[in-house]
């Protein structure tokens, strides 16, 4: 019975079977329709290129989107002023419409515009001549004979889309060229490639270069690439169909001479053959060509729309949707008239068994050795069937057969049962997704679930997830996001959503809360966020909803200080200062982090405000001091003002250290005022920004001893420090007379080692020698003599002190043999 529908074309068997009886009211004579592959939806719009009678029904043009079964999903009124250049589907059931003004619109199946972008001013100015859309991109041919490409439409959804210009055409076309797109997934360069026929030569164009593939060909009027990306079908002006290879290795192409004078619509049927469709009002014709000389002709009684699938061709008319495809080998084995294959015997045996005929047993015995193959073939054949009854029969046969097999692995059987159950569900007329088993395996269950979600068939999607034991988070999430846009009251809706999602551990509520907030349901959003398990997902939505207090609490509870910083920044930006500080002060952790953040950013005003509220005099003093220090030293008034503020706050502190600090600052004010005065009196010298010590040092080097003395008295510099400064300064000036005079002024409070030290720093041994005798400690005295090479003098001192160890030290350093001998004599005398 099944075999009666088959059509033998060459060596292959094909079937054109009806999938749906279309319930739509579309007239394909007047409409343009494009179908999405993988059993996708169909978009229909009036064909503005056809002349039609004006009547009340078609006064307003509509864009309508139907399921593959002809059920209306959505529609919208189309603005006639927008001229459409191209319309087609891309992956994930998104409809792309390209307008004449180089604008690209993208819609979902509900006619809701998802995004739009422009192909650029240049494309608009050059005018689009032709536009083709592939699964994730667009290619445009302009009137200037220039090609432009959108490598990825998806990139425009993430703000990184671009339009690139392809290399110029190698020759000026005499007539409008025909071209086809080879998708990046199939091309050698992994980017878009274009086959184009120009003036009888076939070219291959990619993003970088143009290559000639075939020359001296007849001009090609139609061109299309197969779904597998390996074959290129061409229809030339002589009415000949050629099949080329896309890798350029064609030597002897398959060809068929149709002798037609008009070019047909070319569509691949899977990758097996090409269907040619001549749209004639009187006598529409489908003509199928496969390899070799295999062809078939179909007559139609109404216009059709063709959709290429990876394993066949969907043929859509006003009243039916049919699927034309090659029959699988296993199906042929089972159902061919006169077949004696093991699978067919098993199939018949099952019938016998059901009718309780003893022939069942005989049949099973006859294929005993091939029973496993038969079972597997029945399983596979069931997958290829669209008819539930036939599926059931084949699966029963498989089940019957595997009862006789030991150690049979049933996973294939179980998998097929599950797959068919899912496919039958989505093939139902109300859903309208007539996926074949091959198409189903190709896209995977995840994509099917995504498509059901995007069509808002949440219940079916959830049931499939439940049935197949896969995660349903995505379904529930999308369902809830859709639900919050309904009119159900907040309290009731919250209960519904929470009850539904609570049972799924770890599911995220953040997206749903955001959707609720965008839908104007703030209270519901806040409530839903309570159930979000991750604080990092919880806090940003709360911030956007203006729930600062709650966001701060959640951030602190999470222990993630980065989240706390985020909330503080947002609060500071959105709240009045008083409210911001009041909220922050109620959380110790947040306050500490706020202070830390202010310090990083040098936000002194806010820090002052905080410390003022906390009544922390010490910290307030610190802030003013830092503020003074961070202003330029030349801005004296500003610095003094800040210094005084600092002193004021330090005085309020009870800490003794702070009193000392205020004294230091008081000194600093005096210092800076004196420095300014010094700069006024002494031309071309700079004192600002240096310390008290350095000021005194500088004055001495400028030969201003009285002023230096004055600074010393003002700041009570102790003798030790002053002497060091003066000694250092005089030595730098090489003022040795003054240094000697100073050393005699009174007994040095720092000893005379510093005098020797600074002289040696200036490499003046003569001057150093004047002070070494004045050193009272023996050890440094000897060390200095050694340092300048006066070993004899060092030895004399050690000898006078009768210090044997020191003599040893000197002898180790000395390199003069004569002196070494003297030292040895000294040691002998001491030893004796």
């Amino acid at each position: 019975m099944i075999a009666a529908q088959w059509k033998i074309i060459g060596n292959s068997t094909y079937i054109k079977k009806e999938i749906y009886s279309m319930s739509w009211d579309v007239d394909l004579k007047q409409q343009v329709s494009v179908g999405s592959p993988f059993a996708g939806p169909i978009a229909v719009m009036r064909d503005s290129s056809k002349f039609v009678e004006m009547n009340s029904q078609n006064m307003k043009p509509y864009l309508k989107i139907f399921t593959a079964s002809g059920d209306l999903i959505s529609q919208m009124i189309w603005d006639s002023s927008k001229n459409i250049v191209a319309m087609d589907w891309i992956e994930k059931e998104r409809l792309v419409i390209v307008l004449q003004n180089a604008t690209v619109l993208i819609f979902n199946v509900f006619c809701e515009q998802m995004t739009q972008f422009s192909l650029g001013d240049i494309v608009r100015e050059e005018e689009i001549l032709e536009c083709k859309i592939w699964s994730d991109g667009i290619v445009v041919l302009t009137s200037a004979s220039q090609l432009y490409s959108v490598p990825s439409i998806n990139d425009f959804f993430v703000e990184s889309g671009r339009v690139i210009r392809l290399p110029p055409l190698p020759e000026e076309p005499k007539a409008r060229p025909e071209w086809a797109i080879l998708e990046p997934q199939f091309s050698l360069s992994q980017s878009i490639e274009i086959f184009m026929s120009i003036n009888g030569t076939l070219y291959l164009i990619d993003e970088d270069k143009v290559e000639s593939q075939l020359e001296a060909t007849e001009p090609i009027q139609k061109m299309v690439v197969s779904p597998c990306g390996k074959k290129l079908a061409c229809f030339d002006t002589k009415g000949t169909l050629l099949i080329l290879k896309t890798d350029g290795s064609t030597t002897n192409p398959d060809r068929m001479d149709t002798k037609a004078t008009k070019s047909p619509v070319l569509k691949w049927c899977g990758s097996d053959g090409v269907m040619m469709y001549w749209d004639s009002i009187k006598d529409p014709i489908l003509f199928y060509f496969s390899k070799g000389d295999s062809w078939a002709k179909f007559t139609l009684d109404q216009p059709v729309s063709l959709v290429t699938e990876i394993d066949g061709l969907r043929i859509i008319s006003d009243t039916t949707s049919e699927f034309f495809h090659k029959v699988s080998d296993v199906t042929i084995d089972i159902f061919k008239i006169g077949t004696t294959s093991p699978a067919s015997i098993l199939y018949d045996a099952t019938d016998h068994f059901i009718s309780k005929s003893p022939q069942a047993d005989e049949s099973i015995r006859s294929i005993n050795d091939q029973l496993e193959d038969a079972v597997n073939d029945c399983i596979l054949a069931a997958g290829f069937e669209f008819n539930g009854g036939e599926q059931s029969k084949l699966l029963k046969a498989a089940s019957f057969g595997k009862c006789f097999l030991e150690n049979y692995n049933p996973s294939q059987f179980v998998t097929m049962c599950r797959s068919l159950r899912v496919l039958n569900a989505v093939r139902h007329h109300e859903i309208g997704i007539p996926l074949s088993i091959k198409q189903y395996y190709h896209i995977g269950i995840e994509e099917l679930i995504d498509r059901l979600i995007s069509r808002r068939k949440h219940l079916l999607a959830w049931r499939i997830c439940d049935y197949l034991k896969i995660k349903s988070d995505v379904v529930l999430n999308h369902w809830a996001c859709t639900k919050v846009r309904t009119d159900i009251p907040d309290q009731e809706l919250g209960k519904i959503i929470i009850k539904k999602l609570e049972s799924v551990p770890g599911i995220s509520f953040a997206n749903i809360a955001s959707a609720a907030y965008l839908a104007g349901r703030s209270k519901l959003a806040t409530k839903l966020l309570e159930y979000e398990p991750k604080a990092a997902e919880q806090v940003p939505p709360l911030i956007k909803m203006g729930e600062s207090g709650l966001a701060l609490n959640k951030a602190i509870e999470s222990g993630d200080t980065d989240l706390v910083y985020l909330v503080l920044l947002a609060m500071q930006r959105s709240l009045p200062l008083a409210d911001f500080l009041e909220l922050t002060f109620s959380k110790v952790v947040a306050l500490d982090l706020l202070i830390s953040m202010c310090k990083q950013k040098n936000d002194f005003p806010l820090l002052r405000e905080i410390y003022h509220i906390k009544d922390q005099s010490k910290e307030m003093g610190n802030i003013y001091l830092q503020e003074a220090l961070s202003s330029h030293p030349s801005q004296l008034d500003q610095r003094i003002k800040a210094y005084n503020k600092s002193i004021e706050h330090y005085h309020h502190s009870k800490d003794k250290d702070d009193q000392a600090t205020s004294k230091f600052i008081d000194d600093q004010i005096k210092l800076e005022m004196l420095q300014k005065e010094l700069e006024t009196n002494l031309q071309d010298e700079s004192f600002v920004g240096i310390s008290i010590n350095d000021t005194i040092y500088k004055l001495i080097t400028m030969n201003q001893p009285k002023k230096a003395q004055s600074i010393r008295s003002e700041f009570k510099v102790p003798d030790k420090r002053f002497w060091w400064i003066k000694i250092k300064a005089l030595s730098i000036m090489n003022d040795w007379e003054e240094l000697m005079k100073f050393s005699k002024e009174k007994k040095s409070p720092i000893g005379y080692e510093p005098f020797v030290e600074v002289c040696l720093d200036q490499k003046n041994q003569i001057e150093a020698l004047k002070y070494i005798p004045k050193i009272t400690d023996i050890l440094p005295k000897i060390q200095f003599y050694i340092q300048i090479g006066y070993f004899r003098e060092a030895a004399d001192i050690a000898f006078k002190e009768k210090n044997f160890d020191l003599l040893n030290l000197i002898s180790r350093k000395c390199t003069n043999n004569e002196i070494l001998n003297i030292i040895e004599q000294m040691k002998s005398q001491i030893r004796r």
């Binding site: 940003p540 980065d562 830092q626 600093q668 010590n693 420090r721 060091w724």
Partner: protein, 647 residues
Amino acid sequence: MNKNNKSFNNEESVSPELTGSVMFDSTDWIKLKTLQLFSIIDSFKISLFLDEQVTLVIDRQISGPFSLIFTLQQLNERGIHNLTYFEDLKVTDKTKSIIFLCRPRLELIQKISQFIQQQKQNSLKYHLIAIPNLDASSNYLLESEGLLDYLKIESYDFGFIPYDNDLFSMEIGDFYSRCFVENDNYQLNSIGKSFIKLQQLYGPFKTIVGKGSKSLIISEHIQQLQTLIPPIEQSKLKTLILIDRTVDLIPLLCTQQTYQGLIDEEIKISNSQSIIIEKDIEIREQVLVSPPTQEPKKFEERVVRIEKEKKKLPLSPFSDLFYQQVKDLSFSSVPTMLYLNAQSISNGMNELKKSNSQLLSLPEIKKLLSKIPDVNKKQQLLELHTEIVQELLKRVNSDDFHQKISIEFEMLFQMSNNFIGSNGNTASSVLDFIENLIIRKKPMYQVLRLLSICCLTVGIKDQKQYENILKSFIHVYGIQEMTTLMRLEKAGLLGNNNNNNNLKFKLSSQLFKNFNLIIDNNENSSSSGKENDNDKLKEYDQVYQGYIPLITRIIEEGQKNKQQGWFNKSLESKLNCIDQPFFIKELQTTSNYDINSFTMVMFVGGVSFAEISSLRTLKKKYGRGSGYDFIFGTTSLINGDNFLKNL
């Protein structure tokens, strides 16, 4: 032939540590980090075929660690031809893409924002690689300025960067101030994740022990994520020891006395790879001399001026065997090692000469010739280290250096002899010494380090003397350093006993006694006066003369008894003197552990080279497989100076 054997034996005896030792292999770790970054760059889809110039703008703070893992050639292969810093941000005509690589510090985020705003008219592509990830506040700032649309943002975690065969550092320079002083635990997450990645590569830890509140948080992070580690049959990691820096700050502030530590102190090691030495170069010129008499004028060469030249020397612990031998030794023994190695090379050259003169057969001549490159390489290394040693000797032989060491030890010594009177006297004499340093305007951080040690050990009893010290300090170094004093006070390093600062790290005398941190007085006094074999041997074990850091003692005692060490109540009671949590955690693991499994010591808050050397000596003391085969991790490699600067 015997002579050759003898030479080989001599060489072997010179470096006994390298014979049969098992090194922790960090090669896989470097490969992992390299692949991770390159996959990020590849994801930016930079076209290698178009004439697009890509500029990498790198945070100067991480340029050092970055160069340890990546080479310029590797970057060129991925289309990155320009490398610049944030301070030098500019665009050439050919620039098409810019990649920012930085820790997301606020000032850098602001620079990125300003730059993108300025360059809006140019159609540049911007990418940001945030280390370890873009925190929420930086993301918020970028979003507020509407720049997220322009930036493609990725995360990249350096994690642990190998600086030596057994040393990893995360190089988080501001970790101590943010985590301990500001109590911001943000970076602890990153540390925990790095440990997970380390375990994913080398195997899981069996035990985690630690001391300190931050270490406890890190261990909790690790425990939570431990399920991410796949089953590995043989683990190279057995025990993880986590110690907060706040347990003991003193070794950090004391002067390092190992060869490596001293180089870092006095010359500064840059990312474990190189040092820069300033040398005086005499510029000689022909000058015309005009004598007072009527003699004919003559030209004479004289020194006209002296210029300073900066010379960069390579210093690699991975390839320099001599450096490997001596880096952990007390500096006083390095000249001897230098001499012994030079002698060994000299003997090698003599062997070659003798052999050549004997007219050996052709194969034997080839064999000898093949030794020449090795000998030359060793000679070059010795010349390098001779130069370094000479530079260090200039500084080490000064009186200031000796007095500094002496003062440091005196303060520590008093802690193990708790005499009230002596404490007062010691504090007074220390403060006198410090005041003397201030008067002579010695380097500021040298003064601050000694002052911090004083506050943390003997303490300051005389408030007036302390105030005088501070007054002198400000008079000499300027009022702007008041903020430095404040930072140190807030960090708990300066101040009086009366201070209520919650960062109180003053060590108690009891700790010094409990753990024998100070070597016995008699031994010390004898070693300072005499030189003999015993003293030389002890010097190998004392990276700080007479003082052993607390952390070294804790780990030594904890690892001593494999079964009971860390669970020893005696150890726990000793540790109770430190008012911070102590924890021991046994992780669930199915891996096997053996003699080749390492113990990892993680310093949370930084570590100095000398402290690591102190722990390495435990391995020499107890041998392999006793629980002292360490690998070290730290948030950053620091010394006293840059520790104080980063507060």
